[in-house]
Symmetry: C2
Subunit: 195 residues, 2 copies
């Protein structure tokens, strides 16, 4: 993700709409559709069908970096739409940080789902998320959010900009587990993309 | 404030009650009563009266530090009760950071009031706060939250533990402005404690 190079030497506020998860003013807004996550969902046939049928939005990220003499922090809010690709629930791409000593704090404000976290060594942890769940993610854990509910899930994030975003290992390997609906139940299973 | 020396190498979650601003589990909980802020409110007679009449709670801080090889971050939630000391609204002590390059992000989840911010050079900024206001505070700005509403105001905070807390200049000098009720209106006036 591109970083904001604007300086913010003065205190700066944004106003978050607590109903929708949209905040303003916002320097950076990225929308990810099913086609942007075609490497992520295991069911490639369903990906193709959905892309042809209008390529629905999976999630929106809004964030704001503060890079000044007196700061290296960023805030963001991500809204994950409800839905599935095949039987796999909507989710964020997920990423590692480039710097393992730069953690992140996520705060689920609305919705219901899971936060998947995993290290390079295969340590895996999942947290069930509901409104008010706040998770500290150590800098060595990749993190992905899955919306298993029937309304938008959104979460607030804060981190140091110097953390960096590393998507490649997740694009290549996915997470070791995925979240799917099977026979009406939400289940966490081994990722079929991994041999 | 004492720092938490526990390590949190694994992802760790807390559950915030969005109605009350209380989260669990919580390693550190501090309650500040009127007597703890006797150096802060300008109306010392009203302070004495209130302390004799039960010493009401002004605010509660809950926070959690994550100090590991892979983290230097902390989260906290502060609940400021509604009320006044004389005509001055309930507020937090306020503090500088020991390190000017360590900012903080505050997220007002509930309630209504003001965030006062000020540098050593006398640069002052105030933000009106309502639910959903998120403010980035550069590391060189002292910060204090004032509850001007009729219900508890609470906010989520995230910062790097290495920021440190510096209370002395605020105890000695206060902020240059204070928030009071005059003739039924909320007004921001020069601090009478400052010469």
């Amino acid at each position: 993700m591109e970083s904001g190079k604007k300086t913010h030497d003065l205190p700066t506020s944004v106003q978050l709409d607590l109903q929708t998860g949209v905040f303003e003013p916002c320097a950076m807004h990225v929308t990810r559709k099913v086609s942007d996550l075609s490497m992520m969902f295991y069911d490639t046939e369903s990906v193709e069908k959905l892309v042809k049928k209008g390529d629905p939005v999976v999630y929106d990220i809004r964030h704001q970096n503060f890079i000044t003499r007196n700061s290296d922090m960023a805030l963001g809010v991500t809204v994950v739409q409800p839905g599935k690709v095949g039987d796999e629930y909507h989710m964020t791409k997920g990423h590692f940080h480039e710097r393992e000593d730069r953690p992140e704090i996520y705060f689920c404000v609305q919705g219901e789902g899971y936060l998947l976290m995993e290290t390079n060594n295969g340590d895996f942890k999942v947290e069930f998320w509901r409104p008010g769940t706040i998770t500290h993610i150590p800098g060595n854990y990749a993190h992905r959010v899955v919306n298993t509910g029937d309304k938008p899930l959104y979460f607030f994030a804060s981190f140091n900009v110097s953390a960096g975003h590393l998507y490649k290992p997740v694009i290549e390997n996915g997470f070791s587990k995925i979240v799917v609906e099977r026979e009406g139940e939400t289940v966490i299973i081994a990722n079929p993309r991994r041999k």
